[in-house]
């Protein structure tokens, strides 16, 4: 049989209902790809291009072809693209020609040829290998006389895919061409809906790299005109209308600053009309437009207040569109709130939900202004006989609780609470749900209004009843209890650590009991009820007064019994959903146990410590390699126990050591690794010198983690800090590790990151803080806490100049954090105390003095105190004995390190070659 004919046959079988035929077809295709990929792809392109072939075979060929070029896995995708590029140029040219010819010849939508064109373009364009392609595609759309409708449609689809999938930098030079083609397709003169839709979708994907076009007034006017016109197209073109509105939303978020001339004449009217539409998709886009405006303006308000603090004008300013439109938007939104689904699917997105979110955003954005326009609606409908209106009224009330000044809201809330308590028992589940959520928000945002004496008792009783309601209602009640607990505790303002009693004391036992029951409800898996109930339980325990102690203690026993039972269930686990449930439960129980342990008296904790440790070790054993979440919570629970037991934890160290080491070596689940690293710090603080027999293993694992680039970057700063904990714990014994740790710190302290990425700036600051904390622990540990400085500290002397240079380096980086200043100041003070006069000249530089001054002027007390202390330590040395600077000059000159060249390293990463530390943040 002819190759093509055979291929055709096989491709048709890829949709066969017969499984054997299907498998055979798949196998054939895989083998063909393996045997000779270029021939295989060429054959596919021939099948695709020939209109005589069946549509099924052509589509299947397109899919196979595209899959040879694209993958959802980015690493795989790169591999596919490189494989493509290594193919013979002539074969590639033939394939490209075939797919381009296919555009417009297919009878099915979407066009598979469009995807093939995009797949090849994404591989070749970044390497300048298909230079004419964009011009060719644009020509398909703009050519005169006009190409067929299907050619234009498929071509615009291809352009849309390319715009979406390719890094915008490779398209900037083609922006004009692309935009011209798109706008051509979107014009109101365009008769074909399909072409218009493809063009509008393509525009959406091109907005990010057409900034230059938006910067030009005339081009922007033209684009805006076309988009606005597209929103006004006929009823039968609703898809185009929606896509055009989507464009407006995205344009608003990308080009807010340019919207002033369009807002009044066009955008406001277009979007308000869309919000009122009976077509959900249209209404959703209208609402989304205003939600986006709020997002932008909230960001701009933050920018403005930051700028004011720094005494400079903000770069971008808000035009306060939301405030201006508020009175027109609010009635529409509230009306939309009455269009609830009676039996709501949690995942559905509809105008009613969108309106709720939009109202919340408007409240955050417009603050006090939102109150007046919403009040009449609430008052009129909160007692309506129609549940839809009652619900909309409560929803409106709940949505505006954040934003306006709490003092404005408080009297309103106090007045409304009795009504809300009533509505918690409303016959409609939708109303009950919304009310429970609203009460939860009151408890969180305006707690003083919630714990008002005149109705607190009634509120608590009603909430306890509410725990029996439907899961989604009950979950909101749990949330309300979480917030109430914290608010009640804070309200005591007790001078002691723990108030002797508080306003929840009399109901505490009942609430806790009911919450424990709730976690056991058979339907607790719905609406996150089980987690919500456990979280509420934890908050209550965490925020309990002294007179609730017995209940806390009892709770700890219940939690332990449950944990034991869950562990016994392990063996019976069969399905993966059982597994997930058991894991969640173990995590929650572990966290609850932690909350109890933190609250219990040490002598009571001591009595259950053996049992707790036995269970945790069992948990770590069974969850090994199964659930990182469980491991993490188990390790955190150990941390709590370590804190409570102090040196007494020593007796568990032998048994626990293997699990600690496993945790430290868990590179795949970095959260587990992170918890284990933190736990090492806890153990060091608790055991002090007694931790030393375990240090060799621990240090080795920590150093391995630092050097391993598959360990997630967030673990690394923590490891550095923990070096300090170890050094402080074992003091002079740290000598064994000094050399390797110092060189590690030196590498870490030279890290550079891409400063355009805020996350990376934070990461760099964390990393530096880790270094500072490590140095601090080492200096303090070697110095000893005695009155005379131990001789061991001299071992650090050769590195002092470097360390101070490092602090200067941080000082000069304008992005350093306040916390960096605190740690740096503390370290300077420690160094001065340890090394005395010798290092005075090193710290007398302008940079260091400015750094300390910044610290003294910090808003944070801790920073202020440390910087003042360090300054004082420096002055103390200078004043009575000052002037002896002979040795220091030598010390400065002797410093062999010049770590930070003035022109800091390229924007890349730290590592060159065989570094012991990988801090590239790649993981």
């Amino acid at each position: 049989m002819d190759v093509i004919a055979q291929m055709l046959h096989v491709l048709e079988k890829t949709v066969s209902p017969d499984k054997n035929e299907l498998d055979a077809a798949q196998q054939f295709l895989e083998e063909a790809a393996q045997k000779n990929l270029p021939d295989f792809i060429l054959a596919l392109s021939k099948v695709l291009a020939d209109p005589a072939n069946s549509q099924v075979a052509r589509m299947a060929a397109g899919l196979q072809l595209k899959n040879q070029l694209m993958s959802k896995d980015p690493a795989m995708q790169v591999q596919h693209q490189q494989r493509w590029l290594s193919m013979d140029m002539n074969i590639r040219a033939e394939i490209k020609n075939n797919v381009l010819q296919t555009l417009g010849t297919e009878t099915t939508r979407p066009s598979s040829a469009a995807q093939c064109v995009a797949g090849i373009a994404c591989a070749e364009l970044p390497h300048n290998q298909w230079p004419g392609i964009i011009a060719h595609l644009a020509g398909n759309v703009t050519a005169m006389p006009s190409r067929t409708e299907t050619v234009k449609e498929a071509t615009l689809e291809a352009i849309g895919y390319i715009c979406q999938d390719m890094d915008p930098q490779h398209l900037q030079s083609e922006a004009n061409r692309i935009l011209t083609a798109i706008v051509q397709g979107m014009r109101k003169e365009e008769q074909s809906i399909a072409v218009k839709l493809a063009a509008t979708n393509a525009l959406l994907n091109s907005l990010e790299f057409t900034k230059a076009n938006f910067d030009s007034d005339s081009e922007r006017h033209f684009i805006m005109q076309v988009v606005c016109e597209a929103t006004q197209c006929e009823e039968n073109q609703v898809n185009v209308k929606v896509a055009a509105l989507q464009n407006l939303v995205k344009i608003m978020s990308l080009y807010y600053q340019y919207m002033e001339s369009y807002m009044g004449p066009a955008l406001f009217a277009i979007t308000v009309e869309a919000m009122k539409s009976d077509v959900d998709e249209v209404a959703l886009q209208g609402i989304e437009f205003w939600s986006t405006v709020c997002d932008e303006e909230v960001d701009l308000a933050i920018e403005a207040s930051e700028a004011m603090e720094q005494g400079r004008p903000p770069e971008h300013t808000s035009k306060f569109y939301a405030k201006g439109a508020l009175q027109y938007l609010v009635p529409i939104l509230m009306h939309t709130l009455t269009k609830q689904e009676e039996f709501d699917d949690d995942d559905d997105w509809n105008p009613c939900k969108a309106a709720g979110v939009c109202l919340m955003l408007l409240a955050t954005c417009c603050e006090d202004d939102v109150v007046k326009p919403v009040l009449p609606f609430i008052q009129e409908h909160i007692k309506s006989t129609d549940w839809r209106f009652r619900d909309a009224a409560v929803m409106t009330f709940g949505s505006i609780l954040e934003g306006p000044d709490p003092t404005t809201l408080k009297p309103m809330v106090v007045a409304a609470m009795p009504m809300l308590i009533e509505l918690l028992k409303d016959p409609s589940v939708v109303v009950r749900d919304t009310t429970a959520w609203t009460v939860g928000r009151v408890c969180e945002l305006l707690p003083e209004a919630a714990i008002n004496e005149s109705y607190l008792g009634q509120l608590l009783a009603t909430l306890v009843e509410g725990l029996d309601a439907e899961p989604r209602v009950s979950a909101n009640v749990c949330w309300a209890f979480s917030s109430l607990a914290e608010a009640a505790y804070d309200a005591t303002e007790s001078a002691e650590d723990e108030p002797s009693t508080y306003c929840l004391s009399s109901s505490f036992e009942v609430i806790v009991h009911k919450l424990l029951e709730t976690t056991d409800r058979p339907d607790a898996g719905n609406s996150n009820l089980r987690s919500a109930a456990y979280e509420a339980l934890m908050e209550l325990v965490k925020n309990s007064a002294k007179d609730c102690y017995v209940v806390v203690q009892k709770t700890s026993l219940v939690v332990m019994d449950r944990l034991q039972r869950v562990l016994q269930l392990e063996a019976a686990v069969q399905t993966s959903s059982d597994r997930a449930q058991i894991n969640d439960l173990q995590s929650l129980l572990c966290a609850s146990l932690q909350a109890c342990l933190r609250r219990m008296r040490p002598e009571d904790t001591r009595q259950i410590a053996d049992r707790v440790m036995t269970m945790i070790i069992e948990m770590l054993n069974v969850s090994k390699g199964r659930s990182g979440g469980v491991q993490e919570d188990a390790l955190m629970a150990v941390g709590t126990l370590v804190e409570v037991l102090g040196t007494e934890f020593l007796k568990y160290m032998e048994a626990f050591k293997p699990y600690l080491n496993l945790g430290l070596g868990n590179h795949a689940e970095y959260q587990v690794c992170l918890a284990a690293v933190g736990l090492v710090g806890d153990i060091c603080r608790a055991l002090s010198t007694q931790v030393s027999p375990y240090c060799n293993d621990i240090m080795q694992l920590l150093l391995e983690n630092l050097a391993n680039d598959s360990v997630h970057r967030s673990v690394k700063p923590q490891i550095l800090s923990v070096f300090g904990d170890i050094a402080l714990a074992i003091g002079p014994e740290f000598k064994n590790y000094l050399e390797v740790v110092i060189s590690t710190l030196q590498q870490a302290s030279q890290a550079h990151v891409d400063k355009s990425d805020y996350d990376m700036i934070d990461y760099l600051n964390e990393l530096r803080e880790g270094c500072l904390e490590a140095y601090t622990g080492i200096v303090q540990g070697l110095k000893g806490d005695g009155n005379s400085t131990a001789p061991d500290v001299a071992m650090l002397q050769p590195h002092v100049a470097y360390i101070i240079k490092f602090i200067e380096h941080i000082a000069k980086d304008e992005d350093h954090s306040d916390s960096n200043v605190a740690c740096g100041s503390g370290l300077l003070g420690d160094l001065v105390t340890a090394f005395g006069n010798d290092i005075i000249p090193l710290v007398e530089t302008q940079t260091i003095q400015d750094f300390l001054q910044e610290g003294r002027r910090s808003k944070t007390n801790k920073t202020k105190t440390l910087a003042t202390w360090a300054t004082k330590e420096i002055r103390k040395l200078k004043s009575p004995w000052g002037g002896s600077t002979s040795t220091d000059a030598q010390l400065c000159r002797g410093s062999h390190v010049s770590p930070f060249p003035a022109s800091s390293a390229p924007n890349g990463h730290v590592n060159d070659g065989e570094s012991a530390v990988d801090l590239s943040g790649s993981a």
């Binding site: 949709v15 099924v56 998709e281 939600s291 002797s500 966290a591 003042t868």
Partner: protein
């Protein structure tokens, strides 16, 4: 055919259907959103914050509490920066004493693991000798006395910033004596994190070695006397209480040998009145003899000491009530009488 179409559509995220129902809308999470303070990610953050704070506290302990320096910093701040005068200066030494709870449940390891100290009637004071002066603070951190002393760091002349001393004492005004219960820092060496055993040993030997602290003089107007500690075997307690005391005994403190010096009430320090011994420990009520010369000068017992020693919480009080019914003690009665007696 449909499968093919969806396979094709699925691989590009562009979709011709707005608000693709397959994926949750990005704003859905904002609808009726709840904050989750104790979700795992949040618990994780809290844990890291706590660890960071503890790490920094530990580092600061070595830096700050050591130096009796708070006031100096403040003046310096005033020179350099504007300061908010409305703010009270924080009391650096507030709540820096280890206080007891009533010893109502007899620990199983009392005989092996605990030490007893017989306490004089007097005021509980934290004594800080540093920078050439000695200051006495109440447990609330209020400075009640300032004087020179022979303690390391406690008087001018022998000045060295490194030499400072912090002691836990009971001040007896009549005999112008600070009876020293515990030592937290000696000559710049902090021992907060050492066990009772060691601190007591350190207290006994160091105070003895320091010349002049035990004698009244111009440069040491108050004397410092280390209180003796005794193992807690019944016989040892009995023997100790049969000795002649130089002071009027207020009560007995029981220290767990392994506890560090912690701030605030500790369940590892217990407090009993001598007359409660028969009831609680089954030891016959001791007849305490006090040197007659001392008796002459003794004043009324002091409110402050009562306040200092009384601690405890509801659970303990309830147990205490049970004890009271059998034996009874005026002190405990006073303690529980504020609470309604519900049961029994």
């Amino acid at each position: 055919m449909e499968e093919l179409t969806s396979a094709l559509a699925g691989s590009f995220s562009v979709s011709n259907i707005p608000n693709n129902p397959a994926a949750p809308h990005p704003r859905l999470a904002q609808y009726k959103a709840k904050s989750h303070d104790l979700a795992q990610s949040e618990r994780r953050r809290q844990m890291l914050d706590r660890q960071k704070k503890q790490r920094q506290d530990q580092a600061n302990l070595a830096r700050r509490l050591a130096e009796n320096d708070w006031e100096n910093w403040s003046t310096e701040e005033e020179e350099e920066e504007e300061i908010d005068y409305t703010k009270k200066r924080p009391k650096l030494y507030a709540n820096k004493l280890m206080l007891s709870e009533w010893l109502v449940d007899i620990p199983g390891d009392l005989e092996e693991e605990w030490l007893m100290v017989a306490c004089p009637v007097g005021r509980r004071n934290l004594v800080v000798a540093a920078k050439g002066t000695t200051k006495a603070y109440t447990k609330g951190g209020y400075c009640v006395n300032c004087f020179p002393s022979a303690l390391p760091g406690g008087r001018k002349g022998a000045y060295s910033s490194k030499e400072y001393t912090i002691l836990d004492t009971i001040f007896c005004e009549a005999s112008r004596t600070f009876y020293v219960l515990d030592v937290m820092c000696w000559k710049g060496h902090p021992v907060y994190d050492s066990e009772t055993d060691f601190r007591f040993y350190w207290l006994q030997t160091k105070l003895q070695e320091e010349p002049g602290v035990g004698e009244h003089s111009n440069t040491n107007p108050f004397v410092f006397v280390a209180l003796k500690n005794t193992p807690c075997q019944r016989l040892s307690i009995q023997q100790r209480l049969a000795e002649t005391f130089h002071y009027e005994v207020d009560g007995l403190l029981f220290y767990h040998k392994r506890t560090h010096y912690t701030f605030g009430c500790s369940p590892l320090v217990g407090w009993l009145k001598p007359h409660m011994l028969p009831d609680i420990l089954g030891i016959p009520a001791p007849t305490i003899t006090v040197e007659t010369s001392v008796m002459d000068t003794i004043h009324e017992s002091d409110e402050d000491s009562i306040e200092t020693m009384e601690t405890g919480n509801t659970a303990r009080r309830k147990k205490g009530r049970r004890r009271r019914k059998k034996g009874g003690s005026e002190k405990m009665e006073a303690e529980v009488s504020t609470e309604p007696v519900v049961d029994e």
